[in-house]
C-alpha cells in the first residue's frame, strides 16, 4: 500500500506546527520517501527523540502503509 506525499507532510505538520517539511518521493512509487524536517522542537533533545517525534506523527503508518521514509531532522 502506498501513501501520498501530501498526507505525510500534513501529518508531520500536525504534530510539529512550526516545522518546515521537505519530502521527496525517492523511487516515484509512493513507497520510498525522504523527509527533511526542521523544527525548533528538536533543540536540546537526542537524534533518537527527534526521529521518534517524526515517526509518532505518522500514527503507526511507518512500517505499514509507509514502507520507507528516510528521515533527516534539523534544529532551527
Amino acid at each position: 500500500m502506498a501513501m501520498d506525499l501530501k498526507e505525510i507532510e500534513s501529518l508531520i505538520k500536525e504534530a510539529l506546527p512550526d516545522a518546515s517539511v521537505e519530502i521527496q518521493d525517492l523511487a516515484g512509487d509512493g513507497n520510498h520517501y525522504s523527509a527533511t524536517v526542521t523544527s525548533s522542537k528538536f533543540s536540546g533533545i537526542s537524534k533518537i527523540e527527534q526521529h521518534k517525534i517524526v515517526y509518532n506523527s505518522l500514527k503507526g503508518k511507518m512500517g505499514n502503509e509507509l514502507h520507507a521514509l528516510a528521515i533527516k531532522t534539523k534544529e532551527n
Binding site: H51, K52, M62
Partner: protein, 112 residues
C-alpha cells in the same frame, strides 16, 4: 511481546557489545537499509553480531516494541539503542559514530 522474545532480545544485547538487528545477515543482507548499516560496521572493522529478524516473526515485531522504534535495522552498542539507518549514516559521516565507539571502548579501524 511474549516473555521469551523479550528475554531473547535482552540476551542478545547483553552478550554482544555491538548488536545489529537486521533483515538478513551481514553476509547476505535482505534489505538496503540493513545492508547500509552492516557495511558501515564492516568498513570500521567493528566486531558485531547481526541478528536476522526475518528468521523469527516474534522477534521482528518484538524488537520494534522493545526499542519503541518502528523500523529495522536497529543498532545497539553496549546495551544502548543508538539508532536506525538514517541516524547511523549521519553519525558515520559526521564522525560521531567513531567517537561513540571510542567512548564505549569498542575497537574499530582508525583512519591512517
Amino acid at each position: 511481546m511474549d516473555q521469551q522474545t523479550n528475554d531473547l532480545i535482552k540476551n542478545e544485547i547483553d552478550t554482544n557489545e555491538v548488536c545489529l538487528f537486521m533483515k538478513g545477515t551481514p553476509d547476505a543482507p535482505q534489505c538496503g537499509f540493513s545492508m547500509a548499516v552492516s557495511n558501515i560496521l564492516k568498513i570500521l572493522e567493528v566486531n558485531f553480531k547481526g541478528v536476522n529478524v526475518l528468521e523469527n516473526q516474534e522477534l521482528r515485531q518484538g524488537i520494534k516494541e522493545f526499542s519503541d522504534w518502528p523500523t529495522i535495522p536497529q543498532l545497539y552498542i553496549k546495551n544502548e539503542f543508538v539508532g536506525g539507518c538514517d541516524i547511523i549514516k549521519e553519525m558515520f559521516e559526521s564522525g560521531e559514530l567513531t567517537k561513540l565507539f571510542e567512548n564505549k571502548n569498542i575497537s574499530f579501524k582508525k583512519k591512517e
